[in-house]
Symmetry: C2
Subunit: 429 residues, 2 copies
């Protein structure tokens, strides 16, 4: 007991992919580990769009942080929000007034939606970052069909049946495909007055192709598959206005007004404000997304005791920054745990290097694109790969089984079981 007081203290802020994997990796480390998160659960964000589209329940893609780390005897989990970091004193300040000291700080607080110069759009176009976001989007999509069924006004019905997704990255593509499938397959026989297949799904992308970070041929494949599902892709397009009644889209020289009650934001993320806080104290630079530029071992220059990981880190590999995706975070988390243990044992440890296993995005039933090294896949093969890999990485054994069953069931019946309209209405009227 006596020696414990002088053990090395590792403080991890954030239990996303990076933070949780760092904590897991430190299980046998001779250190006292503390994990702080605002939420009591780890969320498997890559499947959050399936909650937003009624395929899965929040509990099926989340795992209580305490449960995941319960066997890590050296680890404490604190539910709380970090509001300040004192780099000099090696201490963080909590919202409730408490403080936590550290010897090594792992900052893995992630990112939130970025509405750039239009924070007021958040109300009309929720993003897909939290469970609450996802159930709110689910509510909006489902209630739009309900209102369309009730209204006798053709113009209103058209607006209710129009869905606009801003941002053609993986999340945008996945949302667009899923909403189109809901309209065409899931609720096909559910309504009497409307034909849900009349629903229009628009995917708005600023560059000249969807999935712009993917190889060009996969963007084409994705677009083809989206078109087959009835999704309209608007490339070279930007939202210039979003309100309760619709969206203004700039296409080339003109602007087009689209009447819609359901807009979903998938156009960009901004790193947690804790990044800026630490940059100001350490002299680290931030990229335009607010990410902290880190060295090759994920630490900050002059501050080896501070590691910044995951979506909050701007890590340059082979001349370009790593993308903000789950595999980068997972690998960074494991790396950080090993680095700390090497340091504790007085050993040297190499730089972090991301091993890019590939990229994949799903579009719909038996439709996806995947790139693994030099191999590019589309259609059913890519889709099966996607299913398998997401099941494999999902945290929690029973989550894996339950999600698999939900998927098999959805595939066979084209039904989506978690189509619940819950919570208080916010903007659709």
């Amino acid at each position: 007991m006596h020696t414990e007081a002088v053990r090395h203290r590792v403080l991890i802020i954030g239990a996303g992919f990076a933070g949780l994997n760092a904590a897991k990796g430190l299980k046998r480390a001779d250190a006292d580990v503390t994990v702080i998160d605002k939420r009591n659960f780890h969320l498997f964000q890559p499947l959050l769009y399936q909650v937003a589209t009624g395929a899965l329940s929040p509990g099926e893609i989340a795992a209580p942080i305490r449960a995941v780390l319960r066997r890590n005897q050296n680890t404490r989990v604190l539910l709380g929000e970090v509001t300040g970091i004192d780099v000099e004193a090696r201490r963080v300040l909590m919202k409730d007034g408490g403080t936590e000291e550290y010897d090594t700080l792992i900052l893995a607080a992630g990112a939130t939606d970025n509405y750039f110069t239009h924070p007021e759009w958040a109300e009309f176009a929720p993003g897909l970052k939290s469970v609450e976001n996802a159930t709110e989007i689910r509510r909006r999509i489902l209630i739009a069909f309900e209102y369309a069924e009730r209204t006798v006004d053709a113009e209103k019905r058209k607006a209710f049946l129009t869905f606009v997704i801003i941002g053609g990255g993986a999340t945008g593509v996945e949302m667009a495909g899923a909403i189109s499938e809901i309209a065409r397959d899931t609720v096909k026989h559910d309504f009497r007055s409307i034909n849900p297949a009349e629903a229009e799904v628009l995917l708005v992308e600023g560059t000249h192709r969807v999935l712009s970070t993917y190889p060009e041929d996969l963007s084409e494949k994705a677009e083809e598959q989206l078109h087959k599902l009835g999704v309209h892709t608007l490339t070279h397009s930007m939202a210039t206005g979003i309100d309760a009644e619709g969206v203004d889209i700039k296409l080339g020289d003109g602007t087009r007004r689209i009447a819609t009650r359901t807009v979903i934001w998938a156009a960009g993320v901004r790193a947690s404000p804790l990044g800026k806080m630490i940059a100001e104290q350490t002299g680290a630079t931030l990229d335009k997304g607010g990410r902290v530029t880190v060295q090759q071992d994920c630490s900050l220059r002059g501050h080896p005791e501070i590691l910044v990981l995951g979506d909050l880190a701007n890590f340059t590999q082979d001349g370009s920054p790593l993308p903000g995706v789950a595999p980068v975070s997972i690998q960074m988390g494991s790396y950080a745990a090993k680095l700390i243990q090497s340091r504790l044992q007085g050993e040297a440890h190499g730089s972090f290097r991301y091993w890019d296993k590939g990229n994949m995005a799903t579009i719909g039933r038996a439709a996806a694109v995947a790139q693994i090294g030099r191999l590019h896949f589309g259609g059913t093969v890519a889709w099966l790969l996607w299913l398998f890999i997401h099941l494999m990485y999902l945290v929690g054994f029973q989550n894996r089984i339950v999600v698999m069953i939900q998927w098999v069931y959805a595939y066979v019946t084209m039904n989506r079981g978690a189509r619940l309209i819950t919570g208080e209405p916010k903007n659709i009227t």
Copy 2:
């Protein structure tokens, strides 16, 4: 097409057990059926306490009404709230201003929590009637442990670790048992500063025994099993005050103040206000829970076209009123469908008669009580019966499979996967 306009119109208000089973039973009826519900999903209320205690996700015990009735070609589903009924004009008024006419009205709007003369208690002691209630209770229970872990004040910690359930019926017994299990098994290894087993769970019951509508020996068995789980049962007790800091309990002559941050209301229900509305227009009487007294065919005297079912109906069988439980509602729903079809064919139809298959309440892991006819069970046998029957009656095939897996997993690991703190904090500070 031409004949459709003059088809008999059946309007069903409420898609709980009674309404949904009536609609299902009318699948082949020569009638136009309309189902109106405030929610877009049917909720399997007997398992709602498992959502409140983190064992299941809301989507796993709910089924979209439209999906359940999609193959009923004669049936429309409307999402909306009924605010008025005009018995004379045979018409109901919707909140959004719409109206729906009927030839036969099935009123199955159910019941809500009854705080009697203390509506202000609702804020401090949520009941267990909706998905939102259940996730709010889940939030309160889980966050109480989190706050207990963080606080250094022994008195506060004690209050956070005290859970009071008001009402010793089936719901109260199930909640008390489940909370005690969370503390003793589920989160056993999750905390470092507190010992969750120190948690105190109090079950407050007004009569001299829990499960007062069950045979006396089963009450005793239930109490024994509750005590084994560490639940304190306070019989002959009543809540006389509830606020953010605790509860006042009247025991015999004295009053005891219990400091707690988590109070759950399971002490009584009140029928939907639509019951009163229809009673005023038809001269039907209401019982003290606000239920409408119905005739032996579930219709109202002088109004054969109005059937009142489920928790909203006061039906007397063999001299005593039927209880407000799922099997009564299910059987009434099926009966109503048959009655209407007989009438449409000009045939006579007998009275409704509830076939009492028994009663059961679960207490915890391998602990339950069940009464089937003259047979009384306790312990593992009752528990297995309970599991089997609840799975069988759960709506939706994939729900059954998924819930079964969650249960098997929970049994083996003592974990509860859906321990998510979501939504905005309301009263715990």
